[in-house]
Symmetry: C2
Subunit: 154 residues, 2 copies
Amino acid sequence: MKRTLASTAVGILAVAIASTASAALKPEEQIQYRQAGYSFMSWNMGKIKANLERDYNQAQVAAAANAIAAIANSGMGALYGPGTDKDVGDTETHVKPELFQNMEEVGKLAGDFVAAADKLNAVAATGDQSAVQTAFGDLGKTCKACHQKFRADD
Amino acid sequence: MKRTLASTAVGILAVAIASTASAALKPEEQIQYRQAGYSFMSWNMGKIKANLERDYNQAQVAAAANAIAAIANSGMGALYGPGTDKDVGDTETHVKPELFQNMEEVGKLAGDFVAAADKLNAVAATGDQSAVQTAFGDLGKTCKACHQKFRADD
């Protein structure tokens, strides 16, 4: 539990504070890395969804939830640095520029997302499928909450 | 320790066994998801490298190592299904076709990689920088071992 709270705090802070390490990355690299993170989480969300709809493989669900939580807690906020609010050359971003003017709200949405990812990870480790179903739905809502406000596609 | 061994076994098995969930993915989607995983691990390797070279931030290193280990243990072997041994439309792969004819060797390399990622994750959690330096180097060697044999760029 201590770790979950600490992770959440890191997630929220990471939105506002670009790390030293990422400051050296070009804007297009930051966009590519953040898209890689979302893409890989999407693959793992899809695996959990398939497990909930068909044969439930606890080990696969636990590994997928762990990957999502670890990515969520990796400080992706550092990948939203200056110059990443628009396409850079061939590297297209789907983020709305409004995200960068609403960092307080984004921090709250990111905190909800990290907390829900941690919850799913904890629940998936126990193997209770109905609890995973609930936590998975709750996590999906936190994804959608940010997409609807700040992703251009939705 | 039990979890580390179990994770390693999952990693090795995952190379040989395409999961039900991923069987529904198109070859180009499998290529894109596996590249996303490697890309996101690369970002986190870069962060750990920067921490070892400059100011060491234990929380950042631990989060990065956790992301790498979780991705390594997520069953990426399922993303090497039929039809992913060559470019698919605009989706280019850098994997050599030889990988698909040497699954036993690939399984061994993947097992080494997962074990090294688990080791780095365990060491990073303790905050001993010199141990992290060693485990980080060891993990890099397992990446390179596979790249040199089976990635077209190297």
